[in-house]
C-alpha cells in the first residue's frame, strides 16, 4: 500500500502551531510521511514545496482568519496550473458556514476538534490512494 505523503503548514503569519504539530504527530503515528512546513508559507511557496516533494496532500492549519483569503488563492493556483494536489484544512476556528464555502472552492477535507483522528486518517488515506491511482493511470496511457 502507498504511504501517503502529507505537507503540514500554516499560511501568512498565523503562528499558532499547537494544532499543526499535534496533527503532524498523529499522522506520523498513523504511518504517513509528514513534511512539516511550519509557519510563514504563502500559497505559492507551499505549492512549490508540494511539487518538489511530490506530496499527495497539502494540510493547512487554520488559527487565523487569514485562511479565508489564502485558501481560495491556493485553490485557484492549483487549478490554473492543473496540478494534482489535494488540500485539507484543520482548526477549531473553521465554522460550519466557512467549511461549506471552503468545500465550494475545492477543499477535499476539513477537520475540527470534534472530527476524531480516525475519520481524518481514513479520509487522508483515501485521498492519497486516489491520487496514486490517477498517477498510475496517466503513466499507463500513452
Amino acid at each position: 500500500m502507498h504511504r501517503p505523503k502529507v505537507i503540514i503548514g500554516l499560511l501568512g503569519i498565523d503562528q499558532h502551531e499547537v494544532g499543526a504539530i499535534a496533527v503532524a504527530g498523529l499522522l506520523r503515528d498513523a504511518g504517513m510521511e509528514v513534511i512539516y512546513a511550519g509557519r510563514y508559507n504563502t500559497p505559492a511557496s507551499i505549492i512549490s514545496m508540494a511539487a518538489d516533494e511530490d506530496a499527495d496532500i497539502i494540510g493547512i492549519s487554520c488559527h487565523s482568519w487569514e485562511y479565508l483569503e489564502y485558501v481560495p488563492e491556493l485553490m485557484r493556483m492549483i487549478e490554473t496550473d492543473q496540478l494534482d494536489m489535494s488540500v485539507v484544512l484543520g482548526g477549531s476556528i473553521i465554522t460550519t458556514t466557512d467549511a461549506a464555502a471552503m468545500r465550494q472552492v475545492g477543499v477535499a477535507g476539513i477537520y475540527g476538534p470534534d472530527s476524531g483522528p480516525d475519520r481524518m486518517v481514513n479520509e487522508l488515506h483515501a485521498i492519497a490512494a486516489s491520487r496514486q491511482s490517477r498517477l498510475r493511470a496517466s503513466m499507463r496511457s500513452p
Binding site: I13, D14, Q15, V18, I21, S64, W65, E69, I93, P113
Partner: protein, 533 residues
C-alpha cells in the same frame, strides 16, 4: 495508577492533619501578607476596590480600539489590556506584503508612536493601569509617547509590559530576532524603568501564553522561574540594585481546569518567589519578595463545541483565581475557540468577574482556603516539583543557549502533542468534545455570536503607507542608523535611542529591522523588504 492532579501529582482519597507540613513546609503557621507570602501578597488580598478587572482587547486601527477601551471601561473594567494584531506581535508593519490578510483582525495594529497616542487618547493612564500585551520595547516607547502627549509625568505612569525573551519565538510570537537581542531589550527596558518609571511594572513574566501550548502547571511555573531568574541575574550583573526593580515584577499565570491545583500553583509560586528573592538574590524590601500575581483564564480549555459551556469554565477558573488571591484577572472570552473576542463575550467576562467579586463573598477574607489539608499538601507538592524542574533545566545549560538550541521548543511541542493525544484518546474528558457531545445541527446556543468575524482592516495598510511619506525622511534614516550603531555596542541601554527614533516617525518594522541588522540577522525575517537607511 491512582487519581492524579492535572500535573500528575498522585492524590489520596482524602487529606488530614498528617499531610500538612510533611514536606517541611510551614504552611500551617504562615500568615497572609507576611513572608514567604504563600497566603497572599497583602492583607486583605487586594485594595478595597478588589482585583483589577480587565479583558484582553484591541481590534482594527488605534481609533477603533480606543472606542473599544472606552466601552470596556464604561461597563466596569478597572484596568486595560491591549494586544496587538498578529503583524504587530510579529514586529511587522501593516504594509508588509505577508500581512495583508491579518491587519487588525486579532488585535490592534500599532506601527508608529502616534498610533499609541491615538489608542490611549482620553484614557486616564496615570490612574488606570494599562497592561500591554504588545512587544515590550514598542509598548514601552508607545506609552511613554502617549504620556508625553497628554502631559502625564513618567514617574506617575502605571501599567505593565510583558518580557518573554526566551519563549516568544517558540510560542506563537516569533519576530526574527536572536534570543540574545530579545534578552538584552528586556534587560534594557527593566533597567530604564527602574530609573525613570518607578510605578510601571517593567517586567510581567507571562507564563500564560507559552503554557497555552499545553504545559501542565509545574512546567508552566518552572519555565517562568527560569526566565525570571535569567533576567534578574542579568540586571544584577549590570549593578542594578535588586530592590530598585523587583517590586515591579509581576507574574501573569494561566488558570486551567484543575481547580485546587491551580490555587495550589499560585500559592506555591508566591512562596518560591519570596524565598528566591530573599535568600538567593538578597532582596530586603518585602515588596521585592511578594510576587504580584495577575492572571488569565485558559483559552486552551475553551471549546468550539457548545460555546455556552465556556462561560461556566470561565466562572470556575475565575473563582479559583479569586480564592488564590490574585491582583488582576482576565477571563478568556467564551468565543475564543472561534474568533477575536466579541463585545458580547467581553461583557460576559467582565460580568463574571463582577458577580464573583461583588456577590459571591469569596474575597471577604484573605486566603480562605489556607489551612485546608488538601490545599496545603498540594501547595507543598507543587512547590517541590516546580523547584526540581527549575534545577533540572538550569543544570542543562544557560537559558539563552537552551532557547537558541530548541530545548524549550521541544518541551512546548511535546506538551502540545500530549494535550491533543489526551483529548483524542479520551484519557482527558472534555464536556461537549469527547463526552456529552451534541450533533452540530443542535449546537446553536451562542453560535451566531461566535460565527461573526472581523474583516482585515485594509484601509489601515494605505494609512500606514501614507504616514511613511509624510515624515522627514532624512531624519528618520539618520535615527535608524543611530539605532543600528548603538545596538552594536552591548553596553548601551537602547531605550533612549529607540524612543528617539520612534519620536522621529520611524515605524516599528524599521526599528526592529535596524536592531536585527546590528545582530547580524536579516532586516526583514521574511525577505520581502530591504533596509534603505
Amino acid at each position: 495508577m491512582g487519581t492524579q492532579s492535572r500535573s500528575g501529582i498522585g492524590l489520596k482519597e482524602f487529606y488530614s492533619a498528617a499531610d500538612v507540613g510533611a514536606s517541611g513546609s510551614a504552611g500551617a503557621c504562615e500568615l497572609p501578607g507576611v513572608y514567604p507570602f504563600t497566603r497572599g501578597r497583602a492583607r486583605p488580598a487586594q485594595a478595597a476596590a478588589g482585583w483589577i478587572h480587565r479583558e484582553l482587547s484591541g481590534e482594527g486601527d488605534p481609533a477603533r480600539s480606543n472606542a473599544q477601551l472606552k466601552y470596556l471601561i464604561g461597563i466596569g473594567q478597572t484596568g486595560v489590556d491591549v494586544i496587538g494584531d498578529s503583524p504587530t506581535q510579529s514586529m511587522l508593519d501593516a504594509d508588509h506584503p505577508l500581512v495583508r490578510h491579518s491587519v487588525g483582525t486579532q488585535g490592534v495594529s500599532l506601527c508608529y508612536l502616534s498610533d499609541y497616542v491615538e489608542l490611549f487618547r482620553g484614557i486616564p493612564i496615570d490612574r488606570i493601569s494599562v497592561s500591554n500585551s504588545v512587544n515590550s520595547l514598542f509598548a514601552l516607547c508607545g506609552i511613554m509617547g502617549a504620556a508625553d502627549a497628554f502631559g502625564v509625568p513618567l514617574k506617575k505612569l502605571r501599567g505593565s509590559v510583558l518580557q518573554a525573551p526566551l519563549f516568544a519565538a517558540d510560542a506563537s510570537y516569533a519576530c526574527g530576532m536572536p534570543v540574545t537581542l530579545m534578552s538584552r531589550l528586556s534587560v534594557d527596558s527593566m533597567a530604564y524603568c527602574a530609573q525613570h518609571l518607578p510605578r510601571f511594572h517593567s517586567y510581567v513574566e507571562d507564563t500564560y501564553f507559552f503554557s497555552e501550548t499545553g504545559l501542565d502547571g509545574i512546567e508552566e511555573m518552572a519555565l517562568g522561574f527560569v526566565e525570571i531568574r535569567h533576567l534578574v541575574r542579568q540586571l544584577l550583573s549590570r549593578q542594578v540594585p535588586i530592590d530598585s526593580f523587583a517590586p515591579r515584577i509581576a507574574i501573569l499565570v494561566n488558570c486551567s481546569m484543575d481547580f485546587f491545583e491551580e490555587i495550589a500553583k499560585i500559592r506555591a509560586t508566591r512562596r518560591i518567589y519570596a524565598r528566591m528573592m530573599k535568600e538567593e538574590f538578597g532582596a530586603q524590601d518585602p515588596r521585592s519578595m511578594s510576587a504580584v500575581i495577575t492572571s488569565h483564564t485558559s483559552g486552551l480549555t475553551l471549546t468550539a463545541q457548545q460555546p455556552i459551556n465556556n462561560v461556566v469554565r470561565g466562572t470556575l477558573q475565575g473563582l479559583a483565581l479569586a480564592l488564590a488571591g490574585v491582583q488582576a484577572m482576565e477571563i478568556s472570552a467564551f468565543d475564543e475557540g472561534f474568533r477575536t473576542p466579541s463585545e458580547e463575550a467581553h461583557l460576559v467576562g467582565i460580568r463574571t468577574q463582577q458577580v464573583i467579586s461583588i456577590e459571591s463573598g469569596v474575597a471577604k477574607v484573605a486566603d480562605p482556603l489556607g489551612g485546608s489539608y488538601y490545599v496545603e499538601a498540594l501547595t507543598d507538592a507543587m512547590e517541590a516539583r516546580i523547584v526540581d524542574m527549575v534545577r533540572d533545566i538550569e543544570s542543562a545549560g544557560d537559558p539563552v543557549s537552551l532557547s537558541e538550541s530548541g530545548y524549550f521548543r521541544s518541551i512546548l511541542n511535546r506538551a502540545s502533542e500530549r494535550h491533543y493525544r489526551n483529548i483524542s484518546s479520551g484519557s482527558q474528558q472534555v464536556v461537549g468534545v469527547n463526552c456529552h457531545t451534541m450533533p452540530p445541527e443542535k449546537d446553536h446556543l451562542l453560535r451566531d455570536v461566535a460565527e461573526q468575524k472581523i474583516a482585515p482592516y485594509r484601509q489601515r495598510i494605505e494609512a500606514v503607507k501614507r504616514m511613511r511619506l509624510e515624515r522627514d525622511t532624512a531624519a528618520v534614516k539618520q535615527a535608524l542608523r543611530q539605532v543600528r550603531s548603538q545596538a552594536q555596542s552591548a553596553d548601551i541601554n537602547l531605550i533612549p535611542v529607540v524612543y528617539a527614533a520612534m519620536r522621529q516617525g520611524s515605524s516599528m518594522g524599521e526599528v526592529a529591522g535596524a536592531l536585527r541588522m546590528a545582530y547580524g540577522a536579516p532586516y526583514d525575517p521574511h525577505g520581502a523588504l530591504a533596509a534603505d537607511f
